[in-house]
Amino acid sequence: MSVTSDIMQNEFDTTPFLKRLGAFDWVWALLVVAGSVIAHQFYSSLMDGYEVGILYGTAAGLIWLGWGWKPMRGFSLAVALLSLAAIGLYGTELARGETSFFLKFLISSQSAIMWMSALYVMATAAYFFELAIGSKFSGKVGSAMTWSATVMGSVGLMVRWRESYLLGADIGHIPVSNLYEVFVLFAVMTALLYLTYERRYDNRAMGAFVLTVISAAVGFILWYTFDREAHHIQPLVPALQSYWMKIHVPANFVGYGAFALSAMLGVAYLLIDRNPTGMMAKRLPSTEVLDDIMYKAIALGFAFFTVATVLGAMWAAEAWGGYWSWDPKETWALIVWLNYAAWLHLRLTKGWRGRPLAWWAIVGLFVTLFAFVGVNMFLSGLHSYGTL
């Protein structure tokens, strides 16, 4: 172990966690609390007890996340400010979306999602540029664009939430109810997960790989918007009118996002593995680190996917009359779950590492992809909210 002796002689920081927080941490937490209380006051007539619980639970989760992962603070403030601006500009009239300059070109949900799309694609290019020629600057530009895209995507979802209520009080709902909306969620979620790893491992070359899958999602969103006109806000069928949606769907997409990320790092791993002295190997983290991130992402995704499936079952017990009906989506969610359970077992109990698991993570993405869109395309069931 080649650790320099000054590191070796350092004491670890024993100040308790709360004392280590800075002023901005507290101001930010206060803003989150205040925002939640205000939202609660404002919209209490639209929420039932569970939803109030979810609101404060989310606030607590956000504070915890922001304290642990500092960029979350600025990110959430940016999203909040832009979303509030859009809500303010809309007032009570959806038609303002056509007349207000800022709404029309920037922060109506459609425009925000278009910005998100463009920025993700440009970020992908920037990251590839870094990977190819090693320009740190280009990597930073990629990072900045990924952050901006993620802000815009989140703003798009928040504003769409508001727009749905402007369409009609009985039409309003959180925008995670069909394939179009959850694809945006998928892009945003995958990007956020990626950004945490980018910072923690201080390596931007990975972005080229992860942003590729996000760009693919963006491609789908664009096709779905322009070819299928699937971007219109649709009212909810009665089965979806439930607080469960607010937790079931996001939990699923932490899972999907993490699985996608690990698959793309699997690709990176295999490329380095094949050519250990090439430029990829020079710019990307070592295979050990990639292997480790892959494991971490899959563990995280698996944990959330487990929760999401359990929540889905509990919802199904309320909406469809039984916690498990072998609906195609249920069956495929189980297949995805078993697939990653097997992956984790091989790694943790059999000590597998590296190449076979990288391949497996890539295969896992295809299994996930089938569960996500394949099921809607080829199998019909209760759980199809968005046709292809």
Binding site: M1, Q9, V307, G321
Partner: protein
């Protein structure tokens, strides 16, 4: 091996041997001033500050400080794996294994016939003691049921309930697009064990759980709406219409010139909303009530029809719509029947009667042969000509425009076909036009100065309708008149004793998975041996798996411990 793991989790292994510590991957060693006792004290405190549990033991000539953290991580492993077993047991409790077995033993027979509940044999009936099932039943407003149907492959079983469910009222709301927004049922449970019936409203996502039976709002359907239908014969359009009392899911016998038909009313819809306007998906039009029925001929063949009650305006003229299809897989083909000025279809029927009256048609063709072609009755072609013209009109009325086109395809070479078709159509239009003018005269309209545009349009509309009567394939047109809408709620009633077991398993699984991934079990040891006022510290660690995170942790730990023991001698 479960208890062993738990025991191990609590065991600090204070008796560890120097040899084993040296065999660990993570180890460090240094020399520090001070006694073993005070060093152990200081360093143990540091580890506690870092979140470790710490134990000390004085051995013969050296001290061991053992510490660990994240023991629950091991528990996670047990929890999550036991959870799978628990979930499977719960699932098995709710599975229909007993039913399958009973079926194999021949004690149960799946009912495949569509018969009243009272006629379902005991072999297809399950008693109220069945502990787990998932069935459904439709209850019309004002009715009750003490059973559900369990769908089984191609048939069903009747499941008895220990109580009766009655539907007092059913309510449904719609979005502007006609899509259901919410629906709910006011239910009553009548149980011999209750002094009074229980009352509750259920809706989608809001079931009612009573004595372990969960009652869900699953769907809705027609509960036997009644209606009056006016049947206009298309074979004998001059007949007065018949009055038919119909009921959804009921069947009426109809005697027609084509033989006996069964009228099976399938469904009634109080409104029908379709997209309208620019196709932006924001504008809708309500086409009003409709009835869907089948007409089954004596040979068993049936076609499906949908008839709308309210006239539809097309280019500002009102039409009655009726759609026909031979199989449910097809799209409806619509016939538009033009309305009379008074909102009836008497005139349409009168015109149709004239057009189907071969004597009158022949009369007109004779006139036309004389006036337009200047043919004499003794012309050798005359009879043939009159006959074929009349035949063409008859073909058009009885089999429709398609048959006229087919006739041309069969008899005329391809290059002249289009020409032939248009001349055929001209003949039909000519003959029917003459009849139309005659009808107008009979109605007392002055046609000496030609006919006005409205009359002309009516003629075109009527001809369009005539051209589809053949393919329409029905001996009559049924006009929907009065109706009384009765709704039925679709309930799903389940009994799932395994559910709480499954949920317990789920909670264990979620907790287990998080413990497993996020609480890493790790052990540390300090072996401190005092030697002439100085101590030698051997620091070693073991972790269960993921090394890369622990690499950093270990570096931090040893940095801190060295610092706090004023280490003098460097690492191993």
């Amino acid at each position: 091996n479960t208890p062993a793991i738990i025991k191990d989790m609590r065991h600090f292994r204070l008796g560890v041997q120097e040899k084993s510590l040296r065999a660990f991957h993570y180890k460090d060693e240094w020399q520090a001033p001070g006694s073993a006792g005070s060093l152990a004290e200081t360093l143990g405190k540091r580890l506690q500050l870092r979140g470790y549990q710490v134990r000390h033991k004085q051995h013969d000539g050296y001290r061991i400080v053992a510490a660990m953290r994240g023991g629950t991580g091991r528990l996670g492993y047990i929890l999550s794996h036991a959870a799978i077993v628990v979930i499977c047991i719960g699932g098995l409790l709710d599975g229909n294994l007993p039913l399958k077995l009973a079926e194999i033993r021949g004690e149960l027979k799946i009912e495949t016939r569509d018969v009243p509940v009272s006629e379902i044999p005991a072999a297809s009936t399950l008693g109220a003691d069945n502990s787990s099932f998932r069935g459904s039943v439709n209850i019309p407003e004002g009715s009750r049921a003490d059973f559900v149907f369990l769908g089984m492959r191609d048939g069903y079983l009747l499941q008895k309930l220990p109580f009766t469910v009655a539907l007092e009222d059913f309510r449904i709301e719609h979005y502007p697009s006609g899509m259901p927004k919410s629906f709910e049922s006011d239910l009553l449970i009548i149980d011999p064990e209750l002094d009074e019936p229980l009352r509750k409203t259920i809706a989608v996502n809001h079931p009612w759980v009573y004595k372990g039976y969960a009652i869900y709002q699953a769907s809705f359907s027609d509960g036997g709406s009644t209606m009056q239908l006016q049947a206009w014969s298309l074979d004998k359009p001059s007949n007065e219409p018949l009055q038919i009392e119909g009921v959804v899911n009921g069947s009426n016998r109809l005697n027609t010139p084509r033989g006996e038909y069964a009228l099976e009313i399938i469904d009634f819809k109080p409104f029908n909303v379709f997209p309208a306007g620019d196709g932006s998906g924001k504008q809708f039009q309500n086409y009003g009530p409709s009835v869907i029925f089948k007409l089954r001929a004596a040979n068993g063949e049936a076609r499906e029809y949908v008839n709308y009650q309210v006239p539809l305006m097309v280019e500002e003229r009102p039409f009655l719509l009726s759609g026909m299809r031979a199989t449910p897989a097809e799209e409806y083909r619509f016939i538009h029947i033009p309305l009379d000025a008074d909102g009836g279809i008497k005139r349409f029927m009168r015109f149709l009667a004239m057009a189907s009256d071969m004597e009158r048609v022949t009369e007109v063709t004779k006139q036309q042969a004389g006036s337009e072609l200047a043919m004499q009755p003794d012309d050798p072609m005359y009879q043939d000509f009159v006959k074929s013209m009349a035949g063409l009109v008859r073909l058009f009325i009885e089999q429709g425009i398609d048959a006229v086109v087919e006739l041309a395809e069969e008899n005329v070479p391809e290059e002249k076909r289009n020409e032939a078709i248009s001349s055929y159509i001209k003949v039909v239009q000519g003959v029917l036009g003459t009849l139309y003018v005659e009808m107008l005269r009979e109605e007392g309209v002055d046609v000496s100065g030609g006919i006005d545009e409205a009359q002309a349009l009516y003629f075109d509309d009527a001809l369009n309708a005539f051209s589809l009567i053949g393919p329409y394939g029905s001996p009559m047109y049924l006009r929907l008149q009065e109706y009384e809408h009765v709704e039925a709620t679709g309930l799903q009633i389940t009994r799932a004793p395994g559910q709480s077991v499954v949920y317990l398993g789920c909670v264990m699984l979620m907790a287990g998975v998080f413990f497993m991934f996020y609480l890493h079990h790790r052990r540390l040891w300090l072996r401190i041996e005092e030697h002439e006022g100085e101590s030698r510290v051997l620091f070693a660690a073991a972790t269960h798996r993921e090394r890369s995170d622990f690499d950093r942790e270990f570096d931090k730990l040893k940095g801190d411990l060295r610092h706090n023991s004023n280490a003098v001698l460097s690492r191993i």
